[in-house]
């Protein structure tokens, strides 16, 4: 999937977790958890949502790669086969 498509998926999953969260307002290198006030339960729900929507495995060891917006999107691009 393309980066743009994946960004829409992420925004969609986030909407179910933190309705007021605006992914577009997050800068690429910013920590999503800080920027959108996500606690560890919210972050787990984000991972679960992406796992279910995209059918990809996201090992816990990979979580640190997902903390920034650009890191998350790059990770998803790779995982979904570009």
């Amino acid at each position: 999937m393309t980066r743009e498509e994946l960004e829409r998926v992420v925004a969609d999953v986030l909407a179910g977790i933190a309705p007021e969260a605006d992914l577009a307002s997050v800068k690429p290198a910013e920590d999503l958890r800080e920027a959108l006030d996500l606690d560890s339960m919210d972050f787990l729900n984000l991972v679960i949502g992406l796992h279910e929507r995209l059918g990809i495995d996201i090992p816990e060891a990979d979580y640190p790669k997902l903390f920034s917006k650009e890191g998350l999107l790059a990770y998803l691009v790779t995982k979904t086969g570009g």
């Binding site: 560890s40 339960m41 816990e60």
Partner: protein, 418 residues
């Protein structure tokens, strides 16, 4: 004949507004069944029934706000004879002893500010039983109906006119759809969180916390717990599980607290009528901050007896419902001790304020890496968490509190036993 009453969902609740009924007369109900949705300062709550039987009559219409303990419905016990097709017109809600508590949670009541005067509809216009029934069917609050009968009494025609008027105005998010079909609780859950007013919630928190600090002589203890084993245990467990089955550190903290309470039951319960009353089980309140402000601490029941995956599922479900609506009345009323866990981005330590009439509250700071002296005397970097206890000095002393914190620490060193 049992009366189903407006429940008290915590020390800070004085009144509630019926949003909708999920049952109708003639329905049979079981213990624990969700029968109504009530709007409180903590948002819309699904209220469970604690009697078994048949709904004989609904005494409140959606939109009515009544004090805690006001009868809301009559429930006929199994085997009881129906009240002769009810020619005996039931007393309107106003006639019921609205503010008289059934059983005295008297300490709570004594200190709480007096309940507000019953709102207008309960003092009420005259309403014929038929009109009252029609209003319930159509979901029209009686206080919005202009009566044209003798002495301004509300007639069936008035109810129907009001219903048509309401439909024409297409009012704010319509209450229950009219008709006999009970909306499913699931539908309630799917709907956006209703009735959550940050200003009202702030008032509820202010009332409970002011009472806590006014009445409860708190003492505080804290200790630092090394978390390397616990986190290694979680990592190993999670490596083999897909995301929906993974555990968070929070669930270890929750279970360790419950097991420690088994060893120190003096901290699990309530201070009522000048003495300690043990909790009926280990039901732990979990403080959840809400987006948009505010806090609720619904209970997870029997934490000590449930395996970690089940507790994790319960925690996820609870957080979701706290933030989106759909908490149950038993969850708001049953906590025997409350935990606040600040989470990974929180401060390192917290000194909690006890939620009355509970006698203790446990706080966990963020898990952080800090210098630690290991068993060989070497200085190493380790994940640690600060665990704190706020306890009611009327009910216990620091010696007992220290034993309790030591028990929590001990369980966290043996994560496989959780």
């Amino acid at each position: 004949m049992g009366l189903f009453r407006m429940p008290s969902l915590g020390a800070d609740m004085e009144a509630g507004t019926l949003v909708e009924w999920l049952v109708k007369p003639g329905d049979s109900v079981k213990r624990g069944q969700v029968v109504a949705v009530v709007e409180t300062q903590k948002g819309a709550i699904e209220v469970e029934c604690f009697e078994e039987g048949t709904v004989e009559e609904l005494l409140l219409a959606p939109g009515q706000k009544v004090p805690v303990e006001t009868p809301m419905a009559r429930i006929r016990a199994p085997g009881e004879v129906p009240a002769a097709a009810a020619p005996a017109a039931p007393p309107p809600p106003a006639a019921a002893p609205a503010a008289a508590p059934r059983e005295a949670p008297s300490v709570a009541k004594a200190a709480a500010p007096p309940p507000p005067p019953p709102p207008a509809p309960t003092a009420g216009p005259k309403v014929s039983p038929a009109a009252r029934r029609r209003a319930l069917e159509l979901g029209v609050p009686l206080d919005r109906i202009h009566g044209t009968g003798p002495d301004g009494a509300i007639t069936v025609a008035d109810v129907e006119a009001a219903a048509r008027g309401a439909a024409a105005e297409a009012p704010t998010p319509a209450p229950a759809p009219a008709g006999p079909v009970s909306p499913k609780a699931e539908a309630v859950r799917a709907a956006p969180r209703r009735g959550f007013d940050p200003v009202e919630m702030r008032k509820a928190i202010a009332a409970a916390m002011s009472r806590s600090k006014r009445e409860i002589p708190h003492y505080y203890l804290a200790t630092t717990v090394e978390m390397a084993r616990a986190l290694a245990f979680l990592e190993a467990v999670n490596r083999e599980r897909p995301p929906p089955e993974r555990l968070l550190p929070a669930v270890l903290l929750l279970k360790a607290t419950a097991l420690a309470l088994r060893e120190v039951p003096e901290l699990n319960g309530f201070w009522v009528e000048g003495g300690f009353r043990p909790g009926p089980g280990i039901h732990l309140g979990w403080a959840i901050s809400l987006r948009g402000g505010g806090l609720v601490a619904p209970a997870i029941h029997d934490v000590d007896a449930r395996p970690l995956p089940e507790l994790m599922a319960a925690l996820r479900d609870l957080v979701g419902r706290a933030r989106n609506g759909g908490l149950k009345s038993s969850e708001l009323a049953d906590a025997t001790l409350t935990i606040t866990s600040l989470g990974e981005r929180g401060a390192e330590a917290v000194l909690p304020v006890i939620y009355p009439p509970q006698v203790a509250m446990v706080g966990f700071g963020a898990i952080v890496r800090r210098p630690w002296v290991d068993d060989e005397g070497g200085l190493v970097a380790r994940p640690v968490v600060q665990v704190s206890l706020a306890a009611d000095h009327r009910a216990s002393d620091g010696h007992l509190g220290s034993r309790f914190l030591a028990a929590i620490a001990d369980h966290l060193q043996r994560p496989e036993s959780l």
